[in-house]
């Protein structure tokens, strides 16, 4: 198992290198640079001498390939570069934002699991009854409502009818004030979790329906096991594999930041950081954030594969 993990980790290196090359040159291929991003149309008022001075300032005066190797050299020494706008090293900027993104991802996954799995299981057990219908309706609503709509509705209801808005641009971290932090995070987490719950519910339901028809379930029942035991330890456990896959992919996305929800709820997470860095053409920051997000994504994938093995004894790594 350890050997397997080590092999996977080594295989990640080319993936990350590929991501860095892609992002580096994609950023330089799109029109506009840090100067036009900063000055807007006023950039047209610069004389050639002024422009050259600013290019030196932003490090744009060297050819892109040379810039890439300078950057790569720094990265191998653990230095992701410096963000001029934030006045800090890129890694520090990312690590400032990451706790929020991690917390938001965890909370929304927990909310999704708490809502999605029970409803999915109930829907499968009471297949084609009123309960199933309600469950499926819930999933349909969750999938159909985009989260900008859910988020905006929540904010509207809170502010107009309850005269509150826990986060109005004054985000506090969990460490500083846990209670206030949870008040601020619960609504965005619910917004994200709601949509995720809907897809988890559908996945759980269909996997459960399939598993419940299997021979070993009939065997379990005929052995005289209690229905509860059959459902939870025999059926659900086997039905969870596709659910874990789905959860892994979704959690990977969430760790890359949830741009829209962060925008609506004014949360300073990784998603907004990345989007603003792109629109400001802050190359070092864009590269740092993407590399960081890609790293999280491959790590989650690895975690998902390891979890498979613990759910399903038939899957094992290392032994052949």
């Amino acid at each position: 198992m350890l050997r397997y993990i080590a092999q996977r980790l080594i295989a990640f290196l080319p993936t990350l290198l590929g991501v860095s090359v892609l992002v580096f040159f994609a950023m330089r291929l799109i029109p506009g640079d840090a100067i036009t991003a900063q000055l807007g149309t006023e950039a047209g008022m610069l004389t050639p001498t002024q422009r050259a001075a600013l290019e030196r300032y932003y490090g744009l005066d060297k050819p892109p390939v040379e810039q890439y190797f300078i950057w790569l050299g720094e990265v191998t020494q653990g230095n992701l570069g410096f963000s001029i706008r934030h006045g800090k090293p890129v890694l520090e900027v990312i690590l400032d934002r990451f706790p929020l993104t991690l917390q938001l991802a965890l909370m929304s996954v927990i909310i999704a699991l708490l809502i999605g799995i029970p409803i999915g299981v109930l829907s499968a057990i009471y297949h084609n009854t009123l309960i199933d219908l309600i469950g499926r309706l819930f999933a349909l609503i969750g999938l159909a409502l985009p989260n900008f709509l859910v988020g905006t509705l929540i904010i509207y209801i809170l502010s107009v009818y309850f005269k509150i808005l826990p986060n109005s641009g004054n985000y506090v971290s969990f460490g500083d004030d846990p209670r206030r932090n949870l008040e601020q995070m619960i609504f965005p987490a619910f917004t994200l979790g709601f949509a995720l719950a809907a897809s988890l519910m559908r996945m759980t339901r269909s996997a459960m329906l399939e598993v419940l028809r299997e021979d070993y379930i009939r065997t379990a029942r005929s052995k005289g096991l209690r229905e509860r035991r059959v459902t939870y330890s025999h059926a659900l456990r086997n039905a969870l594999i596709p659910v874990v896959t789905l959860l892994g992919v979704q959690a990977g996305y969430l760790l890359g930041g949830a741009v829209i929800v962060e925008q609506i709820f004014a949360l300073p997470g990784l998603g907004r950081l990345a989007v603003n860095a792109i629109s400001q053409r802050e190359y070092a920051l864009v590269q740092g954030v993407t590399l960081f997000i890609a790293f999280n994504f491959v790590m989650i994938n690895l975690a998902v594969d390891v979890i498979y093995a613990s759910i399903d004894p038939r899957i094992s790594y290392g032994k052949r």
């Binding site: 029109p31 900063q38 807007g40 509150i164 641009g169 004014a266 300073p268």
Partner: protein, 507 residues
């Protein structure tokens, strides 16, 4: 079934519990003014920043020599008085005594000289430099007198000095050159901390030379979504808001608990034609487009009627009744005649570039224009671009037409010299010029008599509207909104927040 019911009950209780403490939480801001806006500062160098979001912060920290009141009159700031010589080639200013910078150093003429030397130095990279290039030398006969020697008569330079980009910095700060890290001005507020994309905190400058400032400080928060800003105002979580999107601002129009200020903006919405490309090189085609567009309908549809149809100049003192402009009342028949005269009776197809959400109304404007032009056989294809991509193509003049919101200035010359003079830096964006326009601009620059200037710029406006290199559409409003207990704020057509110092919070 029971389980589901139980589950929903539990989750409802959790949500209710989570929101309870927020319900009972009182505003604990003290005399700190809490404001929110969607865009954040992009940098702290007052001479280099051009983004409006940056200027709104920097104007609270730094002060220029002169400034503009709410009627756009030039009024004293760090300069107490000023005087041009007879042919407007020398500007002498008397400076205010007893002004100190945030670091305790005293303001005098050496700081003014150091400031303008830095602005004019090409190595600084200030986009505002072009406004001050007529300065050949700066004399400082004494500590509180400064003389600007100009190479050409330049009356508008005074209005150009009423800008955050001409903020006075200290001689020591120029030598240290750490403007992106430290903000040391003479203004009412001192920068405590700027956390990009989150918030900026400012504290009161106890040594300010004017009475006040009344608030103990200002907290500027970034809330990227304007609908959320509106919600935060309604929930009473913030005192003050800057709004950009008319669709968000109108939500507050009939709210009795919130004060919404609307001031006609200097910035103007315009449909720019590229007269260097066929068929817009033909006067008749440009005029046909002008006649085919119903400006009021563009305003009503794209911006919910939030604004006024305008000619080239949005400055109140230079208004010309729109009825005196060429084809400001839609005339489709005339448009068709002009198209036929240009040999384009069958119409043609061209493209327009639009920046995504900049301004928020841009795409809707393009769509209305598209529908209006279709009536005279012109097919307009819309290219929606990310802002920096748009800016890049706009600066290169790489477009058939462009939907734009261009910034206005308090003086007609500084507003348009960049586009409508032969030597203008953005002549390659405007792509059209004639001798009359160029000479009218030069006359306006040299003339100091207000009545004569008005006559010159009225002729300029009528002429350029008739030539139709651009189709001026409308100017919207600058929106600010605040709680009723925020007293003393004076809205300004330049959207300036300088009157923050005069605000009293009677919570």
């Amino acid at each position: 079934m029971q389980k589901i019911a139980k589950f929903f009950m539990v989750s409802l209780i959790i949500v209710a519990l989570a929101s309870l403490p927020a319900l009972t939480q009182a505003q604990s801001g003290g005399k700190i003014l809490i404001m929110a806006r969607a865009a954040d500062t992009t940098g702290l160098d007052p001479h280099k920043q051009t983004a409006f979001a940056s200027l709104r912060l920097l104007e609270l920290i730094y002060e220029p020599l002169v400034t503009l009141d709410q009627d756009l009159n030039i009024v004293p700031m760090l300069a107490e008085s000023w005087e041009f010589n007879a042919d407007s080639t020398q500007l002498t200013m008397k400076l205010r005594e007893g002004v100190v910078f945030h670091d305790g150093s005293t303001f005098d003429s050496a700081d003014v000289k150091a400031t303008f030397t830095r602005l004019l130095d090409e190595a600084t990279g200030s986009a505002a430099r072009s406004n001050y290039t007529s300065i050949t030398s700066i004399d400082t006969p004494d500590a509180y007198t400064v003389v600007f020697n100009l190479n050409t008569p330049d009356v508008p330079i005074l209005a150009a000095m009423a800008s955050v980009n001409a903020s006075i910095v200290s001689e020591e700060a120029v030598a240290a050159n750490e403007f992106e890290q430290k903000a040391i001005g003479t203004g009412p507020f001192v920068l405590d901390q700027w956390i990009p994309e989150e918030k900026t905190t400012l504290r009161r400058n106890d040594n300010w030379w004017i009475e006040g400032p009344y608030p103990d400080g200002v907290e500027m928060r970034v809330i990227p979504n304007e609908a959320t800003i509106v919600a935060a105002l309604r929930a009473g979580e913030i005192d003050f808001a800057l709004l950009n999107d008319p669709l968000a601002a109108v939500l507050l129009k009939d709210d009795p608990n919130i004060v919404l200020n609307r001031v006609p903006a200097l910035a103007y919405h315009v449909f720019q034609l590229n007269a260097s490309r066929a068929p817009m090189d033909k006067l008749e085609v440009r005029q046909a487009i002008s006649c085919a567009i119903d400006r009021q309908e563009v305003l009503d549809t794209a911006s919910l009627g939030e604004g006024t149809v305008t000619g080239p100049l949005t400055i109140p003192a230079y208004q010309v009744p729109t009825s005196e402009f060429f084809c400001y009342t839609r005339d489709v028949a005339k448009a068709r005649e002009l198209m036929a005269a240009a040999g384009m009776a069958d119409g043609f197809t061209f493209k327009t570039i639009v920046a995504n959400a900049e301004p928020p109304t841009a795409l809707a404007e393009a769509q209305v224009i598209q529908a209006q032009l279709a009536e005279i056989g012109i097919t307009l294809e819309i290219e929606a671009l990310e802002l920096s991509v748009y800016v890049d193509r706009w600066l290169k003049g790489d477009f058939d037409t462009a939907v734009a919101l261009n910034g206005g200035r308090p003086d007609p010359y500084t507003m348009y010299a960049r586009y409508w003079t032969k030597a203008g830096n953005l002549q390659g964006v405007a792509n059209w010029i004639d001798d009359l326009t160029d000479s009218l601009m030069a006359q306006g620059r040299a003339e100091s008599d207000p009545a004569k200037r008005l006559a010159i710029f009225t002729e300029f406006q009528k002429h350029i509207v008739e030539q139709a290199p651009w189709i001026w559409l409308y100017n919207g409003y600058e929106y600010t909104a605040h709680q009723p207990y925020v007293e003393g704020f004076i809205p300004n057509p330049t959207d300036s927040l300088m009157s923050f110092a005069a605000i009293r919070l009677n919570r």
